[in-house]
């Protein structure tokens, strides 16, 4: 295997990490909620894709038309009903973090428990586009390439929204300074709810894409929440470009480690990278905006 091939494989995986992290960043960096139940929405979206595909042969990409808005709505409701009382009560950002960690930790178990009850703890897997696809003379699985492609499209859309629209400007303002944003006329509650719901929608998209090539069960959520947290902190809280960069770095580092050292050490390499970044740049690669 050549270096280019390994790096390309890492980029494909890293693109998905970035997508998951950007969604988490919308919830943590903008809406200021540390959502430990974040990965559970990835899990539910994966199950939705699985059932739609196995029961009615609905293509997972088409199924996102249903699962992504549904997750958006569910997250919006969670913000309005569960998180808003905590936001209103919290005096400092630290207090809010502590309380949302506890609340979403509970939510994690509720969602996972319900999924286990409804779907059993079995690993699920379906074969969608599991064919070889040759790019630049290298073979990749078509479903992974598709997942990367969709992640790129979503990434570009998010980038355009954030840099070119009034909403995007408001989101950036909110990430930097909620009080200042409010003073300049941003409806903080409404925008936070939208950012939180938007984060949920992104992780639902990621869950659908991941389900096409990874087997999953009701307990997989936490692993992705942890990865998202690592990537977001590595890239800079509230900084979407930082999440993209850090996600890709993580994917490539894992791929290189798998090939040159041992895949058993990918987690160690990921955290080593995390430590190095934190020591050199404590506020993340690109910093907090």
């Amino acid at each position: 295997m050549s270096l280019i091939e390994i790096v390309l494989g890492g980029v494909i995986l890293g693109g998905l990490y970035a997508l998951i992290a950007i969604g988490f960043n919308l919830q943590y960096g903008v809406a200021r909620i540390v959502n430990l139940a974040y990965g559970e929405f990835l899990m539910t979206a994966a199950f939705a894709a699985f059932w739609m595909y196995t029961l009615w042969q609905v293509s997972p990409i088409l199924g996102m038309v249903l699962s992504v808005p549904a997750t958006f709505a569910a997250n919006w409701l969670i913000y309005r009903l569960l998180m808003l009382p905590l936001v209103r009560r919290a005096r400092t950002r630290e207090q809010l973090e502590g309380e949302t960690i506890l609340a979403t930790f509970g939510l994690l178990f509720v969602l996972r428990g319900l999924a286990t009850l409804a779907f059993s703890a079995n690993n699920r897997f379906y074969d969608y586009l599991g064919q070889p696809m040759v790019i630049f003379g290298f073979t990749f699985a078509a479903n992974r390439v598709l997942a990367f492609g969709v992640a790129c499209v979503l990434g570009v859309v998010i980038w355009l929204v954030i840099t070119r629209t009034r909403y995007g400007a408001a989101v950036r303002a909110l990430a930097i300074d909620p009080v200042g944003a409010q003073l300049s006329g941003v409806n903080v509650t409404r925008l936070s709810a939208l950012a939180f719901a938007g984060g949920g929608a992104l992780v639902a998209a990621a869950g659908t894409l991941i389900s096409t090539f990874l087997s999953f069960n009701p307990a997989i959520g936490v692993e992705f929440t942890m990865k998202a947290l690592v990537v977001v902190i590595m890239g800079g809280v509230g900084n979407m470009m930082g999440s993209l960069l850090a996600g890709l770095m993580l994917g490539i580092a894992e791929a290189l480690c798998t090939y040159y050292i041992d895949s058993g050490l990918t987690l160690a390499v990921a955290y080593a990278l995390f430590l190095i970044v934190l020591v050199i740049r404590p506020r993340g690669l690109l910093g907090t905006p």
């Binding site: 059993s120 897997f125 599991g130 696809m133 479903n143 798998t258 895949s263 058993g264």
Partner: protein, 406 residues
């Protein structure tokens, strides 16, 4: 005051009378045979337990009660089965506490085993202490013969790990002798105790048989991508691919090999290969894939068992330990009927000496407490996971070789 104490005395007398009366009825015939078990409904073991063990328990209870219960001669009638189920949350300590509770407090008539080798070996002393027959289906160990001597209530239904390696090597040897297979092996293993023990066991057997392991790598449980491993295996020049894998990675390795167009002559994955979902997902592509375990679906009652389990529990049995789970319960049922009593000591003796028992996995004799002769390796053939090795097993199918391209 006086009136009150009279009332008290009366209630006490009635209570005593009530107990005596119900005790008398109990001696006649219990209203149910109480079966208890602690199993992993949540946590890391829940998947394995949910595929292999629990549906078998549910189906058996359903089947027995549909007949009106188990015929117990002592009472001259069929007695239905009542279940007490606990979730051990995949924690060994919890499981041990629950086993003790089932036997000492709930005082159930029989206890069905938990899931996994580790849990069953940990629970064996408790079963022995309380004298409950322990039909440990999902357990195996290299020192099975010593263990059943130490715990007289213990029975094994799965082969010792080394036998699985031998069963596969027998298949390889035949093709190698015919000059159709090179002596190179690419072997991957999941980075936990199972992967380490299995790859060590297989590796030793393979080296002794003159094979060269040209690639040996382990990967973490829950790895997100095994493309690089499959590419290395493809580049290794080995005709034989062996993975000491667990269900999630068994699925991923197969999917990746298909995507990478990797078609070794022998493609062997371990736990999960025999799952119905495996064939259900990859369909005819996995024709010729080999895996651990095996089953003879043409045995009398086997197809019927398969269909009933799907209908009753919604879970298709796997081609390895699922039928053995159901078989172990058929043995328990037949042993109770043959012994004609719920006395555990007598039932235990009957299990040992009353065989061979007719089951959905064929006849099983437990004289040595170990189900000796059984499948070591199976293969997906025409949408079913069937036993192929050892070749002298009744119903052994000829091996499809080389594995057809995906």
């Amino acid at each position: 005051m006086r009136r009150q104490s009279n009332l008290l005395a009366l209630t006490a007398a009635l209570a005593v009378a009530g107990t005596v009366a119900s005790a008398a009825i109990a001696a006649d015939a219990p209203k149910s045979i109480r079966i208890g078990y602690a199993i992993s409904l949540s946590g890391v073991n829940a998947q394995g337990a949910g595929v292999t063990t629990l549906p078998g328990y549910q189906l058996w209870v359903h089947d027995v009660n549909a007949k009106g219960g188990i015929m117990v001669k002592e009472f001259g009638k069929r007695i239905p089965v009542e279940v007490i189920q606990y979730d051990d949350t995949s924690s060994a300590e919890t499981m041990l506490r629950l086993e003790e509770k089932l036997m000492s407090q709930d005082k159930v008539d029989f206890v069905l085993p938990p899931w996994s080798t580790g849990f069953n070996l940990a629970a064996a002393p408790i079963f022995a202490k309380y004298g409950y027959p322990h039909l440990a289906v999902t357990a195996n160990a290299n020192d099975e013969t010593d263990l059943v001597k130490r715990y007289p209530t213990l029975f094994f239904f799965l082969n010792q790990p080394i036998h699985y390696g031998e069963a596969l090597i027998a298949v390889l040897n035949k093709e190698k002798a015919a000059g159709k297979l090179n002596n190179k092996i690419a072997m991957l293993s999941v980075g936990d105790q199972f992967g380490a023990e299995m790859s060590a066991g297989f590796g030793a057997g393979l080296k002794a048989a003159g094979y060269e392991i040209v690639l040996q790598k382990s990967y973490p449980l829950g790895a997100a991508d095994l493309t690089s491993e499959i590419k290395e295996a493809k580049a290794s020049g080995a005709d034989t691919f062996i993975a000491a894998s667990y269900p999630p990675d068994t699925f991923m390795l197969t999917g990746t090999a298909i995507a990478q167009g990797y078609n070794p002559k022998i493609f062997y994955t371990a736990v999960g290969t025999a799952f119905a979902e495996y064939g259900g997902n990859f369909k005819e592509k996995v024709n010729g894939v080999m895996g651990i375990g095996g089953w003879n679906p043409n045995l009398p009652g086997a197809q019927d068992y398969y269909k009933r389990q799907v209908a009753v529990t919604g879970h298709a049995p796997d081609g390895w330990a699922s039928p053995l789970t159901y078989a172990s319960l058929q043995i328990l049922e037949q042993a109770i009927e043959k012994a004609g009593t719920l006395d555990r000591k007598k039932v235990l003796d009957t299990i040992v000496n009353g065989g061979p028992w007719q089951t959905v996995s064929g006849p099983i004799d437990l004289k040595t407490h170990i189900h000796e002769k059984q499948w070591g390796a199976g293969q997906w053939q025409k949408g079913q996971f069937v036993g192929v090795s050892p070749a002298d097993m009744p119903g052994a199918q000829p091996v499809i070789f080389p594995k057809p391209a995906w």
